[in-house]
Symmetry: C2
Subunit: 247 residues, 2 copies
DNA sequence: TGTTGAATCGCACGTAACGTGTTGTTATAT
DNA sequence: ATATAACAACACGTTACGTGCGATTCAACA
């Protein structure tokens, strides 16, 4: 038999919280003094412990009222719902983390806040990955799109830093001669990272590259406008022509 | 030059939201009609787009007021703070997911809601992983504790299902003869899963096992009380004695 | 039994980011 | 000039409590 203050000390829950749980009918003390002071019995303490457990699991107080009186099968349903919510939220946070990382590197490389890059990055991540790849329909097969989604989801912080860095460097050198050594280096750096991401899958890379060349808004991993794509294309064309001649 | 309704249609933000942003001073229209109707200029539209970007990044409206006027360096700080928050939240959700998964399997195996198992699971996951392992201090080295933390964090759903299932089955057979075939099978199943989790690291497994035997409240992966530990110990003792004889 | 100090009750307002609804006013189309 | 649409301004609701507030009630002491 505890007063509200004693129960509060025992469990670490504030008096106001217990007051509130009483108010909304979640934990009503089984007894009261003549003067109206609340008296909590072991029964109520048990309910409180269960409420705290459900709270940790992320249930709302309103749902607890239902769940606490429900059968085992409904419990399973509720827990599965919670699990799905937790997983969806994790996915959301994961893509948000990638977006924030990309933005952070972009600001670091450029030394100032590039809003159009931020908008592009967010547009890229905001839509579901499937939708983001819809623009590639016709260029890539369903399986290829799924592969790219997986690659994208598994991108490490270093990958993000490298992509952001390359694209930034290329943007700063759009006007240089595509045949110059610097342009060649930049294009090769891009290719290296692309190879790195696609691992062995040369076919996937070339399909993706073809799609990029034909699309007006080329977005791969990070916002990459037509300027950048054209630059890389010109540089690579010269590079391979060069190699042919050497052969 | 947009009225509030036109801006709403253009951006998909509700009129009430724009009203609210005006009210709290986040986006004040740069012009008004004689009658007091709000007129948003391109300037304001830009601010709104930035606000939406920051919203996606998880900033509060209050912080946006500061951030929108700040310099690049403070921006980096704010983004880093957001990143840390996102990562902490991901960690929290990951352990919550494990806890929910374990509870779900326990309910499925037992066919009813076992509150003491739920409390045990939550106690195990609620505290930071470092704290949870403090009880093993003296039995395990710092490096071993870190290894266990990693193993724990990487536990798959199948692992959780198997642990929960084994412990449940053992609890239901506490009174059978440790030398009986069923007891031997249960103990072996436990050992298999333990080997599986610890991979090659036999030393780590035996250190952990020694710790479990000496602790009053043995908790490894899932709440496992002394009964269960004793059962496994007795069964394994007989098993190895048996093997010695065979040799 | 009276008194005092601590505990408690019940109430109200505040939080974040709006949704919903109402009343009164302004803008626009006819 | 009038009908109708759009708008401003306000209020209350949402979630899970925190933070007071004055008015009891309890427990202990005299």
């Amino acid at each position: 038999m505890y007063t509200i203050g004693q129960l509060s000390k025992k469990t670490g829950v504030t008096v106001r919280t217990l007051d509130y749980y009483d108010e909304i009918g979640l934990i009503k003390p089984s007894s009261k003094t003549e003067g109206g002071h609340r008296l909590y019995m072991d029964n109520d303490v048990m309910t409180l412990e269960r409420v705290l457990a459900l709270k940790y699991m992320g249930f709302s107080l309103e749902k607890m009222k239902d769940v606490l009186n429900e059968s085992t099968s409904t419990w399973q349903q509720s827990i599965q719902h919670q699990l799905e919510m937790v997983q969806r939220e994790q996915d959301r946070l994961k893509t948000l983390e990638q977006a924030l990382t990309g933005i952070s590197y972009a600001i670091e490389f450029e030394g100032e806040i590039n809003w159009s890059m931020i908008f592009g990055t967010i547009r890229l991540f905001q839509q579901a990955p499937e939708d983001a790849l819809q623009q590639y329909k016709g260029y890539l097969s369903d399986e290829e799109m799924r592969k790219i989604m997986d690659i994208n989801a598994g991108m490490s912080e270093d990958d993000i830093a490298e992509w952001t860095g390359i694209i930034h460097d290329i943007k700063n050198n759009l006007e240089i001669d595509p045949g110059s050594e610097k342009a060649q280096q930049l294009a090769e750096r891009w290719m290296n990272q692309a190879d790195n991401m696609f691992e062995q899958d040369e076919e996937l890379l070339s399909d993706m590259w073809e799609a990029l060349q034909n699309l007006k808004e080329g977005i791969a991993f990070y916002p990459m406008d037509q300027d950048v794509i054209n630059f890389i294309e010109r540089a690579l064309t010269i590079k391979y022509a060069h190699r042919e001649v050497k052969k």
